[in-house]
Structures are given as C-alpha cells and as structure tokens.
Symmetry: D4
Subunit: 170 residues, 8 copies
Amino acid sequence: MAEKGSVLILMGSDSDWDVMQEAAKMLKEFGVSYEMTLSSAHRSPERTKRLIHEAEQGGAQVIIAGAGAAAHLAGVIAAETILPVIGVPINSSPLNGLDSLLATVQMPGGIPVASMAIGKAGAKNAGIFAAQIIARRSPEVAKRLLSYKTSLAEEVEAKGKRLHEKGQSD
Amino acid sequence: MAEKGSVLILMGSDSDWDVMQEAAKMLKEFGVSYEMTLSSAHRSPERTKRLIHEAEQGGAQVIIAGAGAAAHLAGVIAAETILPVIGVPINSSPLNGLDSLLATVQMPGGIPVASMAIGKAGAKNAGIFAAQIIARRSPEVAKRLLSYKTSLAEEVEAKGKRLHEKGQSD
Amino acid sequence: MAEKGSVLILMGSDSDWDVMQEAAKMLKEFGVSYEMTLSSAHRSPERTKRLIHEAEQGGAQVIIAGAGAAAHLAGVIAAETILPVIGVPINSSPLNGLDSLLATVQMPGGIPVASMAIGKAGAKNAGIFAAQIIARRSPEVAKRLLSYKTSLAEEVEAKGKRLHEKGQSD
Amino acid sequence: MAEKGSVLILMGSDSDWDVMQEAAKMLKEFGVSYEMTLSSAHRSPERTKRLIHEAEQGGAQVIIAGAGAAAHLAGVIAAETILPVIGVPINSSPLNGLDSLLATVQMPGGIPVASMAIGKAGAKNAGIFAAQIIARRSPEVAKRLLSYKTSLAEEVEAKGKRLHEKGQSD
Amino acid sequence: MAEKGSVLILMGSDSDWDVMQEAAKMLKEFGVSYEMTLSSAHRSPERTKRLIHEAEQGGAQVIIAGAGAAAHLAGVIAAETILPVIGVPINSSPLNGLDSLLATVQMPGGIPVASMAIGKAGAKNAGIFAAQIIARRSPEVAKRLLSYKTSLAEEVEAKGKRLHEKGQSD
Amino acid sequence: MAEKGSVLILMGSDSDWDVMQEAAKMLKEFGVSYEMTLSSAHRSPERTKRLIHEAEQGGAQVIIAGAGAAAHLAGVIAAETILPVIGVPINSSPLNGLDSLLATVQMPGGIPVASMAIGKAGAKNAGIFAAQIIARRSPEVAKRLLSYKTSLAEEVEAKGKRLHEKGQSD
Amino acid sequence: MAEKGSVLILMGSDSDWDVMQEAAKMLKEFGVSYEMTLSSAHRSPERTKRLIHEAEQGGAQVIIAGAGAAAHLAGVIAAETILPVIGVPINSSPLNGLDSLLATVQMPGGIPVASMAIGKAGAKNAGIFAAQIIARRSPEVAKRLLSYKTSLAEEVEAKGKRLHEKGQSD
Amino acid sequence: MAEKGSVLILMGSDSDWDVMQEAAKMLKEFGVSYEMTLSSAHRSPERTKRLIHEAEQGGAQVIIAGAGAAAHLAGVIAAETILPVIGVPINSSPLNGLDSLLATVQMPGGIPVASMAIGKAGAKNAGIFAAQIIARRSPEVAKRLLSYKTSLAEEVEAKGKRLHEKGQSD
C-alpha cells in the first residue's frame, strides 16, 4: 500500500472531526491506510489544492471530504482530480444538513461527487465505500468487506433472536 | 471608471446567459461598466481563478456569480478575493433552485457571499446591488439609483390608478 | 469615518442580540464604526424609517438587518434607501430559519437585499461583507480584510497540521 | 355600506391581477363593496401606507393583500392598521409559493396576518373570509354566506350523483 | 357581550393547552370574553360539531382552533359554520409544524381558514386577530387594540434606546 | 360479494376523477366490487358522513379517499368508522402534493389512515391494497393478486430482455 | 388465531424498539396475536425474506415494518408478499423523518405500502390499522375497535369538561 | 476487459431509459464496457438479485442503479454485493426527485450507496464516477478521464471567450 495512505480524508472544520472519525474507523477495520486532516474550500483553498496534489503523488486512490452548510469541499476537490471523491454532508447548520446534502450531491454533469448520507452514518459509509473501491484491486480488502457484510447479517440475526423472545404476544 | 469594467459577471454555464443578462441590463441603466463571461467552479477552476485576479488588477469593484444546482461558483470566488461577491442562484435543476439557493447562501463564517433571489429577479437585483456598492463612491451612480427608485414608485402609482378603475365593485 | 457610524445594525427583537453581536465583532476587527439597536418592521415601522433616514444623514454606508420568522425587516429597509442592505435570517421559529431565509432572500426584482446564511455564521459574514463594501473606498479596511483572510488560511494550516498527526492510520 | 368599499384588495404586482380577481368575485357574490388596486410593499411604500389610511378613513372593514416571493405586503399593512389583514401568498417564483406562504404566515407575535392558501384557492377564500368578518354585523351578508354554503353542498351532492352512475363496478 | 363567550377556543389535544393560552391571554387583554376547551376533529367529531353549534347559538363571533400534525380541526370546524375560523398550527410532530401549517392553511376554495404562524406566536396572533374582528363592531375593543399597537412601538423604542447604548462601536 | 360494493372510493373534487380511476381499474382487475363517487370533507360534510354509514351498512370492507391540498377527507372518514381507510394524496395545488401528503399521512395516534403515494401511483396502489385486505377472506382475490404479482415480474423480465439487447456496449 | 401470530412486526434497527412497542401495545389491546423482531432490508436481506415466508406460512395476516432514514424495509417486504404491509417511518436521522416518510410512502404503482405517520403516533396507528384489517374477519376484534373508538371520544369529553372550567374568561 | 461488461447499469422502469443513457454515453467515451437493462427492486426482486450475481461472476466492477420515487433499487443492490453501487435518483414523481434523492442517499451505516445528482446530470456523473473507479486499475481509462477533464476546461475557455465579446458594456 502507498506510503502516505490510500485514502485522504479531508474536512472543512475541526468541529467535523468526530463525525469523520467514523470513516477512519471503517478504513482501519478493512486494513486500508489513510491520512486525515483539515482543509477548507473557502478559508484555505491553496492548502486544499496542495493536499490533493500531494495525495495524488503519494498514491492515494480515493478522497473523502466532509463539510457542513454550503458544503463546497467535495466539489472543489473533484474539480482538481480524477480520483473518486466521496462527499459526506455534515449537519452543522440550523437546516439539519439539507443544505450540506444538496450542496454536495447536486453536482453538475462532468464533475461527479459520490454523496453519502448526512452525518455519522454517511461518514461510516464513506469509509466502507472507499474500501469497496480499493477492493477492486486488493483481494485482501475484498475479503474483509465480505466478512464485514456477513457479520452485519449475523449481528442482526443474533439481536433479532433475543428481541423476538421479548416481542411476542402471550 | 476602470478600463476592464467595474463589475465582473461570471456564470457557470452558457445556459445561464439569459438569466444573467438581467444583471447586465441594470448595470447599463446605472452607467456602471462591466464584463460578462463564462467560467465554471468545477469544469474550469484555473480560468475562474485567473479571471478573478485579472478583474482585481483591472480595478473591478464587485463580482457577480450566477450558478445552478450545487452552485459553488460564488463561494469559490469569495475564497479568492476580498472584493464583495454577489451570488445569483439559478433554477436549472429539478429542485427549482432550492439546491442552488442553499449552496449559495449558507456560506460558513469567514467567507461571505451576498445571495440574491433565485433566477431572473435575483440577477436583476444583483445588478442593482452592485450599483449600490459602487454608488458609495460614485455620486453619479447614486443619483441614477435614486431616480430609478423614484421611477419604480411612480410606475406602481400609474399602473395602480389604471387598475383601480377596473377593480372597484359597482 | 462618520460620526454616527459607517454601519447601522438593526434587529427585529432583543432576542436577536447575541446573534447580531457577531456582525459587530467583525466590524470592530476591521476598524469600521457602527451603531447597533433594535427596531421591528412590524411593531415599530415609524422608528425603523426614522433610524434609516438618520443613518443616511449621519453618513452610514451600509445597513445590516437581522430578523426571524417572516423576516421583513431587511426588505422594508431596502424599500426606503439606496444604501446596500444586508439581511441576516435568524432561526427563531420552529422552522429552523427556512422561513426567515426565504422571507429575506426572495426579494422581487427592483429592491435588492443581500442575504447571508441563517444565524451566527450569517451575522458574522454580514459584518465582513459590510467591511468589504467599505473597503472599496478605505485602503485601511481593505488591508485589514486581506490580513484577516490570510489569518483564516494560516489558522486552518496550523490546526490541520496538529490534527494530521492524530489522523493517520498506523 | 361604505362609499369607498368595505374591503380594500391590494396586490404587489399587476401580474397578480388574475389571481386576486377570485377574491373580488366572491365579494361581489356576497354583496360586499370593495376597491382593488396595485401597491408594492417594496417599490411603493408611501403609496401602500397612503392607501391603508384612506381605506381606514373611508370605512373599510378588512384589507386583503396578495403578493409573491418574499411576500411582505400583508405584514407591512398589518404594521399600520388594526383592521383585520388577510394575506394571499402567490406562487410567482420558482419555489412554487413556499416562499410567499412562509413570508406571509410566519408573522411574529403582536402583528397578525390571516394567511389563506397559495394562489387562486387562497384568493377566493380571502374574499369569503372577508365576507364572514363583515357578516358579523351584516345579517344580509350572513344570509348570503349561508346560502353559498348550502349551494356548495348541493353542488357536490348533484355532481356526486352523476359521477356515482359512472363509478360503479358491474 | 355574549353569555358564553364571544370567542370559542378549541384545541385537538390537552398537550396544546400551553400554546393556546397565548390566545386566551390576548383576548383577556382586549376585554373579549371567551371559552376554551378541548375537542378533536378525529377522536371526538360529535363533540366538535356540538360545541360549534352551541357556540353559534351562544352568540360566539369567532372560533379559534389549534392542532398539530395533520391538523384537520380548523378545516372541520369551517365546514360546519360561517363564523370566521382562525387556525393555529402547532409543532407537536417531528416535522416541526410544517405538516400542521400545510394541513391548516392549504384549504380548498370555498371553505376558508385563516392560518396564523406555527406555535405560540401564532396562538398569540389568533387572539389579537379575533379581537380585530370583534372590534369591527365594538369601539371599546378597537380602542384597546390601538393602545396595544402603540405600546408595542413604545416598548421597541424603549428597549432600542437601552440597547443602543450597549451597541455602539467606540 | 356485497350488493353495493366491497370498496367505497370517495374523492374531494371531480377534478380528482382521472387519478382515482386508477384505483377502480385495479379493483376491477382483482374482481372486487366497488362504488365510486364524490364527496368533500369541507363542502359536503353531511353527505360524506351519510355515505360512510351507508357503505358500512351495505357491507363495504374498505374505504379509499383521494383529496388534494389540505387533504382532510381520509382523516374525516377515519374519524367516523372502524373500517380500514386508505388515503390518496393528490397533487392539485402549487406545492406538488407535499401538502396533501402531510395532511393525509400525519394522523394523530388513535385514528389511522393508510397513506399511499401522491397521485396516480398512489391511487393504483390504493386499489391493490384494498384488494390485499379483502384477500384476507377471499381466496379468489388472493389468487388474482398472486397472479398479478407474477405478471409484474414477468413483464419486467420481458422488457428487460428487449432493452438488454439495446443497452450493451460494443 | 394463528399459532405464530396474526401480525408480524419487523424493524430495521434495535434503536427502533421503543417506537414499535406502540404498535404491539395496540395489538394487545385488541386481542390480536403478534410476533415482533428485528430485521434489516440492507444488513440482513436473507433473514428478512425468511421471516416474511415463515410469517405467511404461519398464517400471519398483516406485516408492520418500521424503519428510519432511507427506509426501504416496508417496500422490500411488499415486494415479497401479497399480505398487506404497513410502513412506519421513524425519525432517526437528522432530517426529522422526512427521508423515512418519503422512502416509505412514495412506492411505485404495483407494490403498495400503507404508510402511517412518522414516529410513535405512526407506530400506534399501525397497530390499530392492522387490527382494523383483522376485524374484517373477526367480530371480536371489531367489537374491541368500536369500544376503543368510543373510549377515545369519551376521554376527550371528560378532559374537555375539566379544561373548560379552567378555560373560561371571567 | 470483462466479457459481460465492467459496469452493470440497472434501472427500475423503462421510462428511466433516456436518463440512464447519459451514464452509458460516458462509459463509451472512456472505453469502459457495460451492460444496461431493466430490473425493479419491487416488481422483480428475484431478477434483480440474479442480475447482481451474474454481474459479479461476469467480472463487473461497479453497479449503477437509477430509480425514481421511493427509489430502493440502489439500496437493495448494495445489500447483496460488496461491489461499489452508484445510485441515480430520477425525478419521475410529483415531488421533483426530492423523494428519490432521500431514498437513495440516506442509507444507514453499513451499506453504502454513492448518490449522484437527480436526473440526467446525475446519470452522466454516474458514468464518469464508474470510470474513475475502474481507472484505479486501468491506466488507459485514467488517461481518457484526464483528457476529458482537460476538454471540459478548454470548452469553457472557448465558450467563455466567445461570450465575453457579447458580454461587455460599451
């Protein structure tokens, strides 16, 4: 795997850190190396651009970008690279993430961003989806994804059995 | 006035041309020079940046940016300049402009974009608002704004009188 | 600078005071004088009108108006003056500010209001945007805006470096 | 009944004329005199204020205001009078009237506006509701309202019978 | 004034009591008698109908109805009477009152409901609006409404002066 | 099967007839008898109540109600009966059916309405769902439902094969 | 009644347990047997399918499915069975249940899901609606539904009387 | 490249064919083989599952799924495979695609779907994004993506120059 990480995780604000940890946790689970740091589309456009090009040169395969409000970060990254860019809309404004979702997902034809769900569920899925991309050339990651998928089903099966005992009419 | 135009009007797509003409018309009415062209935040980030810096060097006072869908253009411009940036959300996606409005107006603290209404009314007002900024140092533009304001009221008064005759019960 | 303040900050209710302080703080940072007080479009229309005209006569360059719910304050001010009017939608009703945003931004052609984001981010940006307008004729304010912009990027750079160390897979 | 009309119908734009005719038609049906004309909260604030005070002095009992987009007209009128003000949100912007509805109905405590539905249904109901207010002191109007209510039910009954024959399985 | 109250205030659930008290408070302030009780459009349709007809016979002039979620109460009342019906949408479901607003305000042509804002502001305004209707035939209530309107402006003026001292740059 | 129809289909306006035909078509397909007619919750509350009770006495098993805007019809019916009530929100107002959906589906606890999708898809599904209820005691209807379900899959299979030939890269 | 329960209640996550208990409580009240357990459309598709077929073979008459976010559970069940499927949208994402409502109710023509309100009110109504379906062939359940309906009205009557004493002007 | 296509494009209805052609066109442009056919999550769940497993066995790298209304197709596919699944929300219901967007993007943690924009822009971007994934192991596809990206910028540059001549004040 690449020296500097197969996945670059960027976020627009340090208040997004906890949400974006969900992506990092999943990448760890699948054995995918990553780097995670802060850069804003609006406050630090030069840094954002520099980090993208460093990531490309360092061999990154995927970029994950989390941002709130008028979330431009993922789109701005997608404008600079042909790496797959995954956007995580974060609900940090009074509009509960509807703004960040639309600003992330409604990209014009030509420059795709792959949007995940708003908030922690989306960040977690960004990590899994990045691993699914990397699994296209890493059988080891694919194997771990399959075993994670199996474990999800088994966990539901186990919990479901326990709850079933509580959830039956007399 | 500046050689290359006091106001730079950018738009993300040539399909926005008709809408953004409304801004140009108002600037003409107030005697404010402008340049209008096309540049996309996502498809031509370098061009966008170059045009901003050329405009700054050419003495532009205000930048107007119109874009649809996940409208990042105004925000991306505001990231590069301390000139006032006015955003016009354009309703070119199935969501009727709710997406472009939120992507334009919900800017994070630190990087302001002044959002106008969705579509032609917004583009027209962008032209007037740019003139209002320029009027802060141009008494001639201020005079024309005042006379435009008076004409709006007079036009309502005149139309209102005509309609009043039609609109009375017997 | 003007005796009575280059910027007039109005708000519709005293419960908006904390939000609108964000605008005042930014104006202080940029060395722009301001006055801030309360006036409602609906409960005190005469006072609102009087304050606008006093501000115009006192040499104000920009008016900032913050209001919640059916936020008419900025529009009502814009009807009375050719000064640039900046609206801050405040989320004080159950609809999370969607109502105040639409009532502020969707102004009809002819009477522009420059809408900022909902809540504190918007109030902060209103202060910065007012300074950007004033900077068009004050090199001192322009210099401070540039240095603020640089500091935003530097702050992200610094925070980003610290977080990078925490945010790397083993 | 008053010389100059018991009901004043105002609208913000001449493009609202057809919608607001629905209010006038209902007032005619109930024998309530009215005046209908144009005035904008934003483009002609003085005219709006003057018309309200003339209506008050002319004995008007109710004011109906129709407007689109950031529909401030009804609220601005309600700020000037203790007459009941009925607002009709008009869908003249890309947002299908959601903007005019929220800008009309979400009035802050202290200054009520009675909002009707968006568009023609709302304008029609504004006329009926104005008649219901006037019926509080006019037995003749009350009688006509009762007979209109009866006719609505009878019309449904008649249509329903005809459709019933078509709408039965074999 | 009528024995049993000039205004009938109904609400769909006892959890709406606190909100609807705002209407009652305003009626008290204007010296308008009222009765307030509980009845549901869905759980007690017979009671609702009976209360409307008792109110009509008792001389009620206006009915105020507060309800949440798919708020049918005001519409169901308006179907039964030609008295003016004022609806207060209450935000008691996860959708923050958008559901109760639309279910209250979007009445079909023929059966008007006068919708107020969502929640306490709306309930307060329902009380004031009911008084405005009653003032059409009670000079005493009209006088109190005028004095209330004056007091609103005076209160803003007073608060505004105090805040102005705090809100001025050095 | 019942003399007067196992399913009663009501709609609030004759303009809903075409949409509600979709429900009737499906009932015909499954051999379920029905009656379809017009009645409004607001314009003809007595007729609505009478039709419900006639349907109950005639042996109806299910009631389907289609209505637009502040769609109260299904809720008003559900208040009168313990028969299952299926609501079809119709998009006949400027808000594209969001109003009728929320007014139909957001019923308070105690009085269920089963909401289908907005418009024709919802009306069609109302017919199928009514048949699914009736199939609980009619093996013949169940058999037809199963065969319809099979035919849906077969139709996709057939269409899919044809399209597959067109939809393959060279 | 069936050995394994007349109603199968499924939910997508164990965090939905408390909400879905409301359905179970109502079924208990009406003497309808049920089974309640966990299964996810996405994490355990095989389990979901198996439970549906076991329920069909065990004689279940109705399936209730509760899920949040992109709530696919009810739709996925409806794809597998001709039993009536009732969906309960749960507000477990930042969008307050608007996402789960639309993902549940907007089913395409051919595969109906009967959507209830968002959250606990919807779960309660799902239980009642399931009982209404079962009452079509169980006079005992019908009798209990009628007596529940009567008790709802009586409860409002009783509460209404108590509140009436508190809610009358002097 | 794989015999049966590197990308499987599925859509829920034949009316989605034109929209989804945009994805196919982009794949052709980048030299990525694909298969495109019809399968519904709800009407043909078995076919959907079979096609996914055939695609996996045939060496597909990515699955694109387009669907409207309560768009479950992408989520149902993601439940069955660890291949990256890209969802295209299609605006085929009265809600303009807000329903299909939320039903596609708001996936729960564990089962990612990469959502694109609503409609044709989203379908086009789905094709590009699929190519970006495949480019991770195909230098040829990467080369074509880079050249496409350059051509986008050049096209804006060329159009921008032409429009600039038209868009300058005198």
